[in-house]
C-alpha cells in the first residue's frame, strides 16, 4: 500500500482519457515523460477560450481582444510566479522547449567567436544537442561534452576541469528524459558562473516533478514545455534573466515584435514581445496557466512524494524479472524507468505491451548518445505520473513477463 495525501482515485476522474480502452484493455498510460495527459480543468479552459473570447491579442481595441490579452498576460504572470522569476517579461512564450533552446542558440550567434567553447552534457535530448552543434558550425565555437558514469550521473569533477575562460555557455537538462536522473544543476550553474559562462537548463522533464525557483538557482535560461505538465501541446516558455534577454537579438521577425517599421529601419519592441513575433498560441498559453494552477492545487511536495513511492515500487517489481536491466540507477531520479530484457529487442516488448493496452515508449528517446554509451539500440521507458497507480505498475510487470514469455 502506498501512503499519500493525494486522493488518486478522485484525481484520475479529472482525466477523461484514463477511462479509455486500448486494444480491448483499460489504458495503462506510462508515457508521461513524452506527453502527460490533460485534466478536464485544462480542457475546460481551452473550450472556454474558444467559446467566449477567442480574439487576437495586444492590438485590438475591442472587448474580446482585451479579454484575450488579459487572460494571456495573466497566464504569463502565473508562470512567472510559479518559477519565481523577478519580472513577467522574463517569461517568453514559445512553441515548447525545442523552440526555446533554438531561440537562445540563434541569439548566441553574435556572441560567440572561433575558439569559444559550449559545454553540453552527455545525457541530453537531441533538441539540446543539435541547436548547439548548429551554433558551433555558424561561429567556429567548439562543442565539448560533460561525461557521465554508468549509473547515469554527470561527472562533476570532469565538468569542472572542462571549464575555462573559453567557456561561454553551459547547457544541460535538469532531468534526463531517457534515464530520469536529476542533475545537480545548482552546482553546474555556480561553477559555470565562476568563469562567466551563461547557463541554459532544459527543464522539460523537471517541471512535472520539481518546483522550480529560477532566482534560487540563479540560472540564466530555463525552458519548460506545457504538454509535459498537464498542459496542451505546442506551447512552452523560455525563462531568461532580464539582462540576458535584453542583450539577445530578436529571433524571428514579424508582427508584435516591432516598435516601428519603415523600409529604412525597424526598431524592436520591448520584452517579452521582442521574442514573440506573430500571433502566438493564445489558447495554449492560457491553458498552460490553467495546467500550472492544477499542478499547484495538488501540490508539488505531495506529487513528488507519491511518485517516489511509485518509482521505488516499480523498480523493485521490475527488478524481480530475470534478465531485466535498468538503465539509470542514480539515487536522484524522477519516476522514469528505462529498461531492457536480456536478448529481446525493446521494440518487440513495446509492441506486445501496446497490444495489452500499456503505453510505454521504446527506442532511443531522442538521446542516441546515451544509447551509444550503453551500446544498446534503445530501451523500453515507463514513465509514471501522479495519476498512475500501484495496480498499473502490477499490470506493467505482468505485461513484461507475458512479453518475455512470448518472445523468448
Amino acid at each position: 500500500m502506498i501512503t499519500t495525501n493525494l486522493d488518486i482515485e478522485t484525481i484520475r476522474k479529472d482525466f477523461p482519457i484514463l477511462k479509455r480502452k486500448v486494444n480491448g484493455y483499460p489504458l495503462v498510460y506510462l508515457d508521461n515523460a513524452a506527453t502527460s495527459q490533460t485534466p478536464k480543468q485544462v480542457i475546460d479552459t481551452i473550450v472556454d477560450y474558444y467559446s467566449r473570447f477567442n480574439a487576437n491579442i495586444h492590438r485590438g481595441v475591442h472587448s474580446l481582444s482585451q479579454e484575450a490579452t488579459d487572460a494571456y498576460e495573466n497566464a504569463r504572470k502565473k508562470i512567472q510566479n510559479h518559477i519565481n522569476a523577478v519580472e513577467p517579461h522574463e517569461i517568453i512564450f514559445t512553441s515548447g522547449t525545442t523552440d526555446s533552446i533554438n531561440l537562445v542558440a540563434s541569439g548566441f550567434t553574435s556572441f560567440l567567436k572561433k575558439g569559444d567553447e559550449v559545454l553540453v552534457s552527455a545525457m541530453e535530448h537531441h533538441s539540446n544537442i543539435v541547436p548547439w552543434q548548429m551554433l558551433c558550425e555558424r561561429t567556429g565555437a567548439i562543442l565539448k561534452v560533460i561525461p557521465m558514469n554508468p549509473e547515469g550521473e554527470l561527472l562533476i569533477d570532469e565538468y569542472a576541469k572542462l571549464l575555462s575562460n573559453n567557456t561561454k555557455l553551459v547547457v544541460c537538462n535538469h532531468v534526463s528524459n531517457a534515464l530520469g536522473s536529476i542533475n545537480p544543476i545548482e552546482k553546474i550553474i555556480s561553477l559555470a558562473h565562476e568563469v562567466d559562462a551563461a547557463v541554459l537548463i532544459d527543464g522539460a522533464q523537471a517541471a512535472p516533478h520539481i518546483k522550480i525557483d529560477v532566482q534560487k538557482l540563479n540560472v540564466d535560461f530555463y525552458t519548460v514545455s506545457a504538454h509535459k505538465i498537464c498542459g496542451p501541446t505546442g506551447v512552452g516558455i523560455l525563462y531568461g534573466k532580464e539582462e540576458w534577454l535584453k542583450k539577445l537579438p530578436p529571433y524571428q521577425g514579424g508582427g508584435e515584435m516591432i516598435a516601428e517599421v519603415t523600409f529604412e529601419k525597424t526598431t524592436y519592441a520591448d520584452l517579452p514581445h521582442k521574442f514573440e513575433a506573430g500571433t502566438p498560441n493564445i489558447c495554449g498559453g492560457i491553458a498552460f496557466g490553467a495546467a500550472i494552477d492544477y499542478m499547484n492545487s495538488l501540490g508539488y511536495e505531495a506529487i513528488a512524494s507519491y511518485e517516489k513511492e511509485l518509482l521505488e515500487y516499480a523498480t523493485e517489481e521490475l527488478k524481480s524479472i530475470k534478465g531485466l536491466k535498468i538503465y539509470g540507477t542514480s539515487q536522484h531520479k524522477t519516476s522514469v524507468i528505462s529498461f531492457n530484457v536480456e536478448g529481446i529487442h525493446p521494440y518487440d516488448i513495446g509492441t506486445i505491451l501496446d497490444k495489452l493496452g500499456i503505453a510505454v515508449r521504446t527506442g532511443h528517446h531522442c538521446a542516441q548518445p546515451i544509447m551509444d554509451y550503453y551500446n544498446i539500440p534503445g530501451t523500453i521507458r515507463a514513465s509514471f505520473s501522479f495519476y498512475n497507480t500501484k495496480d498499473e505498475v502490477d499490470i506493467l510487470v505482468e505485461g513484461v513477463k507475458k512479453a518475455k514469455q512470448m518472445l523468448s
Binding site: N23, I344, H345, Y347, D348, T351, I352, K355, T362, G363, P377, G378, M406, L407
Partner: protein, 140 residues
Amino acid sequence: MSIEEIQNEIVEEFSMFDDWMQRYEYMIELGKSLPLIEEQYKTEDNIIKGCQSKVWVHAELEGDRLVFTADSDAIITKGIIAILIRAFSNQKPKDIVEANTDFIDKIGLKDHLSPTRANGLVSMIKQLKLYAIAYQTQLN
C-alpha cells in the same frame, strides 16, 4: 503458386486464430523460418529506413524470379518481413510490382500499416517493390 494464392494461404492460416496473442505467436514462429540474409549483405545500404528495429533485405535474380533474403534484430519485425517474403519471394519482378498488399489487413496486422508506425511495414513493402522495379528494368 502465384502471389495471390500464397497470400490467400497466409490469410487462411491466420484465420484459425481467435485472438491477437495467438496471431503474434504464430508470426514469431514464422520469423524463425525467414530465409536469412548472408552476413556480407548486412550492410548500411541494405537497411530499410523508417524502422525502429534494424531490417536488412537483399534481393537476387534467379532466372526470371526475384529471391529475397532478410533479417531483423527484433523478433516481431522478423515475423512481419518473413510473411512479406513468403508472399513475394521466388516471383517474377513484374508480378511483385503489381501485387496488392490487402492481405496484411486481413491477417490482423492493419495497425502495423500506418505510415507513422515505427516498425515501418510500409517501408518494407516499398523496398521489396523497389527491388522488383529495378530488376524488372534490368530484365527488359
